[in-house]
Symmetry: C2
Subunit: 404 residues, 2 copies
Amino acid sequence: MEKLISVREAVDIVLKETKILGTEKVKIINSLGRIIAQDIVSPFDMPPFRRSAMDGYAIKFDDLSFTKIFEIKDEIKAGEVKDIKYEKGKCVLIMTGAKVPEDFDTVVKFEDTEEIFENGKRKIRILKEIKRFGNIAERGEDFKKGDVLIKKGGVIDSGYMAIIAYCGIDEVSVYKRPKVGIMATGNEIKKIGEKLKEGEIYDCNSYSIYGLVLKYGGEPEILGIAKDDKKSLKNLIMKGFKKRKDILVLSGGVSEGKYDFVVDVFNEIGIEMKFWKVAIKPGKPTFFGKKGNCLIFGLPGYPVSAYINFENLIRPAILKMQGITTFERFKVSGILAEDIENKGDRDEFLRVILKVENNENLIIPYKEQKSGIFTSITYTNALLFLKKGEKIKKGKKVIVEIYK
Amino acid sequence: MEKLISVREAVDIVLKETKILGTEKVKIINSLGRIIAQDIVSPFDMPPFRRSAMDGYAIKFDDLSFTKIFEIKDEIKAGEVKDIKYEKGKCVLIMTGAKVPEDFDTVVKFEDTEEIFENGKRKIRILKEIKRFGNIAERGEDFKKGDVLIKKGGVIDSGYMAIIAYCGIDEVSVYKRPKVGIMATGNEIKKIGEKLKEGEIYDCNSYSIYGLVLKYGGEPEILGIAKDDKKSLKNLIMKGFKKRKDILVLSGGVSEGKYDFVVDVFNEIGIEMKFWKVAIKPGKPTFFGKKGNCLIFGLPGYPVSAYINFENLIRPAILKMQGITTFERFKVSGILAEDIENKGDRDEFLRVILKVENNENLIIPYKEQKSGIFTSITYTNALLFLKKGEKIKKGKKVIVEIYK
């Protein structure tokens, strides 16, 4: 099973095997970050009536041809509806957000007037040049009844929460969150809290994966660490199945010497192996299998490789399960700060730092790109895809993908 | 109280009045997005020992001068420590992550060898050019004992979670999350679920604010809607104090005509008004007061203005309470897609779309910048600060702040 497939091919296989989960209803206040499973269609125009955009005085603009002084005839508070009729030279005190009576076409804001008393009457004098229709928000100027304000498949952020509320909708349909079981493998891997003996290290992959699953909307659970024996690995995977996980993620079980071992376990359990290796650096030894609707991923033990291949292969699966249809990361173009060359035998994702310097977006490749150097994850914010054999000179324009 | 202050001045006042909250301990799996209140110092070198980076065979490099065939003397699994002594022309099968015995200096990976049998002995033949020290990860090459891996004040992301776990740390000290009480004001504002009469609209600001508070690490609670009378506003603010909120955010209570009204309520309750207006568009009518350590913000009723001034003024307070010391947003430089000009009487934050087109970052100002058009929030991803009177031509380079 030496055949290497490209990342693109691997993602296609993963997505082909990934089913969209069902939907459920949540209250708006619990919807942040969820993927909406319905269109939000406006039930009314917004604003639903012609309203005052300022605290001020509603006038009929044509009156300005003969006077700058208006008698205050009445007043309208926000929320009040008064059908006040026009009388020559008279105005209506009106508060922001209130419906402007039909006979009036312009609002003069407080600051552009002074109040005066004349013949025992409250009047205003207009102090500035006024525009016709000034400070009036037309009915439906934000959106109209029937407008699709949010499309199914969008991520609910604070702006979407406001739009949903604006429409008076309290509960929305969202896609279910994938349940992801996380496990590490390896005799040398110890659980935090245990004492390390020589030759051992703590499990860190389970925690970066935990954080990534949360970030992309899944419900993570750490299931434990399997020893390098078939029984231990089999038991841990079975635990994941019993807990009805949608995705199982193993790290560390996929080095060259463990192929037969993992394949035996998969055969015993009935997991179908879809691919075993990906032609990418970091992260070549990465497998993907399936049983029923449960996806099983094996990531390398190296924290950098595990992290980047989670980003490349598991992130799209988690997103697709939640109804998302585009998986591209946010892209930014910038100037490369130093020469780079991919001398390896595979395409590569360089970890880079994108920052603005002297008005330019500068792309700075992290100094150390080895899979063993986890600081290349913690101190960078973008990925630069470099094809096998590709060279790019300092100063050239490149596009990077923001992954933080 | 007509004095307008700049956004910069307003932020400085807010930050001056903001106290950092205390700290608490959380388990790593509950730490995503929290602000760390301790440095993370590595308790050991990582890797903690010289280890094999591949499944393969440990050899002494100098042996290659006389042979390409090595007898397999022993084997070492990951997690095993065996102090195997060097014998001329012999190698040790070793798995990824295992400690390399001192006498050996190079690992030849499986793929670069073939196994052969000679005189009943298991041997390997090396098929490729090998580099001295190849596939050996030196002790401490990722980080060293005593290295400060994470500095106090950083946001815990999935990478940080992995680093903390790597160090064997199960619980970290983080800053407490600010408790934020959210209220709307206005006779025309109705709670979702209530029936709208003419002249009324639903409360949407409470929900965008709820989402923003969550996004920046606070604990939001919606407290309700106050009518435009002193008693109602006072009661709602008192409810916030009783619930011991660190921040209270009102929207809609700050139009020109309500100044005396709000000031009266503040005086009765003992809130000290720090500023009332900010010279910024959108969001001029925005107040800030303080009682004890509780910060009280009044945002405009316009959803766009409320949103942007939350970003400008309340976000820094929420971050500072959690121990963050830099409040700048992520910046990106790009090419302006059309002429812009700030003809208003205040500095302005334009809502823009940043996207990559033809290898360039294009900055597209949203077509409608009125405070009443909430879609300018939902359909944009960046803010462009434009000084009063400033003009910029299409094609010029500008820097925007990502706010989504």
